[in-house]
Symmetry: C2
């Protein structure tokens, strides 16, 4: 029997995969599991996108060009103009989700053994993409005490080595919901320029921002045309994670050229998803107004519920639909599993993502969980109630 | 400006990418370009699949499970039973096209620096997938004089080194159309067992087989449960290349476990494509009877037309919809470009894929082209006529 590769063995597991069987068992036992663990929004996909799929008039579901349909890329350029980003269709490559955009960026820009700095906690799959490309993730720690603000320039500069080639940010952030300030973006800009680093920016939560000011794209930072690679996706924006359509946007022609070779090897991004994505560009602004107000109500309900629990630390996230919460426990892996296995409040329990999977630093985040507020407000209120009682029971348990 | 990676620089270019601008220019100049260069069939997608997309009743285009929808995997298991392959739904992982299945297989099974033996000429993108995984392709040469039969066991054994970990075959073959005999499959089986090699088998052209006997899947070879990884796709079978839905099938649980980690990192295969793929399983057998008879007529027209040209060597392919043809020229790269730039017969010219891109051996295939017979029979006849005249003109040209 041939051996499997060490690369496969070393691929990190999903933070919630271990918990999945316990959620299944809880459901089988008749419990209702309130899922605060996932990033699949419950919001409906815009009607224009659904209509486009249902009205598809093709009789052959053909390949699209490897870089995506020309009409879609033109539409995307107009979308970016609308959010203050000046790019041409040629600077936009359609990808199979934001995931593929990030894999292309890593493979086109970084050598195996190169280092990429990522503020932690960060989206757990970044580890998998780095592992796939043979790239080393170097975390810089953002702390709940600071509301997960960007670590200081000095702290970031301190981890730069001769192998450091890039920095990766997610703004608004998954899992923290943090939105970088103008000052923080300028710090990131200075670091990229001074150390000649690529700046990969995952901005898939752009529309989910709850402050007065819309967040600024790194594509608008001056002097970074050759450094910035924007990672984007329709998944969260239009609540169509299953379309598997994203984008890689950069003004760096050499990076585009290399990405194009990877894109041609995999032939094309999904045709049906692109039909949905292109149609979704016509989503009325009322859709987003409505969605944002629902998320604000959910967030406020969540934060209010959490802050009422003794020993729980959480700040109010400014964007996305996640927050990282500190609980008065030793191991959120153990606690999250215990909630599914041993607790219910009148039949209800809660599933959360242990935060340790969102840290690259060994042992970090053990007393934290990520909570996604992707349920309607009444369910969010119920979930915080269940969590409060569960936590109280857990702290006095004897098992 | 940061440097781009050597990995990106070394990614091979598509065999036809260089020609694309010349095809565009020919069209602009008013020529009709008969495309014999591509693998996008002109056949219509089965009605059941189009209907399923148009009738989609989801209101949220959600992620599917990372391994694909359970109902689709059950349907696929039934499909495989129908072609004599006994696998459970758990042994099937849905992927984003056959491309992703092969990338997962390479990454899960092989270390960077490992070697995979591939009979050449082979599907050009195998080079790109190998480059992505850091794997070295070791070709063994199949020859047009032998009708592209499998090279002898001795010749294959001769290239095995301590780093050889796998063999990759495509059956029926792209670009040759060759279908392996029972004897050849047994040779491959012996090699895999004797040298403990993974056997990756790309069987995406399974239904396009024009002999008396249906081709046998490597999944039915005895004693290879831990060695075989089957690569499959809906792209050609149902003429829906743009769905981006494929499958990785293996009875090796460790390989499945590693692939699952890569699958979870990219979240899920396309939801809409899976809807089309699952519905396509109900395609009536009359669809394939019709398609196969059309391809046989096209193939026969092509072979007849080619064999009538002085100095052209071609064998009648037994499957898929390609063949590799030897022309009486020095460089098919130069000739294929010349046909687009400088030749037309009453406004018609022909685009073919130079075969050099399908060989890993430097300098091989310079006098060969790959022809895809993905046009209706009258156009195939016209194309061979244009090629005959073009070739005659090329051989006496003065430019």
């Amino acid at each position: 029997m041939p051996k499997i590769s060490t690369k496969g063995l070393q691929m990190p597991d999903s933070p919630i995969r271990k918990l999945a069987p316990f959620a299944t068992a809880a459901k089988k036992a008749g419990k209702r599991v309130l899922h605060l663990n996932i990033g699949q929004p419950d919001i409906e996909t815009p009607q224009v996108a659904l209509d486009a799929v249902r009205g598809m008039d093709r009789t052959v579901i053909e390949y699209s060009p490897s870089e995506g349909f020309a009409s879609y890329r033109q539409g995307l350029a107009a979308y970016y103009a609308g959010v203050g980003v000046d790019v041409s269709p040629e600077q936009i490559m359609v990808t199979t989700g934001g995931s593929e955009a990030l894999i292309f960026a890593f493979q086109a820009c970084l050598e195996p053994g190169d280092e990429v700095i990522i503020p932690e906690p960060f989206y757990a799959n970044y580890n998998g993409f780095a592992q796939t490309a043979g790239v080393k993730v170097v975390p810089v720690r953002a702390r709940i005490e600071d509301g997960f603000a960007l670590p200081s320039v000095e702290k970031i500069a301190a981890v730069i080595t001769p192998r450091t080639r890039a920095m990766l940010i997610c703004n608004p952030g998954n899992p923290t919901g943090y939105v970088y300030s103008e000052e923080e973006l300028q710090s990131i800009r200075s670091l990229a320029l001074k150390h000649d680093l690529y700046l990969f920016a995952d901005e898939v939560y752009r529309e989910f921002c709850y402050g007065e000011e819309p967040p600024r794209s790194v594509m608008t930072l001056e002097g970074l045309d050759e450094h910035v690679v924007l990672i984007d996706s329709v998944s969260k924006r239009y609540s169509m994670c299953g379309a598997r359509v994203g984008a890689l946007v950069t003004r760096n022609a050499a990076v585009r050229g290399a990405c194009m070779k990877f894109a041609m090897a995999r032939l094309s991004p999904p045709t049906l998803g692109q039909i949905a994505g292109e149609a979704a560009l016509a989503t009325p602004s009322s859709y987003f107004t409505d969605v944002v107000s629902r998320y604000v109500a959910r967030r406020d309900a969540l934060v209010e519920g959490l802050q009422a629990i003794d020993g729980v630390v959480c700040t109010s996230p400014g964007g996305a639909f996640y927050c990282v919460v500190r609980l008065p426990i030793d191991s959120s892996d153990v606690f999250c599993q215990w909630m599914l296995e041993h607790f219910d409040l009148d039949g209800d329990t809660v599933m959360m993502a242990p935060a340790s999977g969102f840290y690259a630093t060994q042992g970090a985040g053990q007393d934290e969980v990520r909570i996604a507020y992707v349920l309607e407000e009444p369910l969010i209120r119920r979930a915080t109630q269940v969590l409060a009682k569960g936590l109280a029971a857990y702290l006095v348990r004897n098992d």
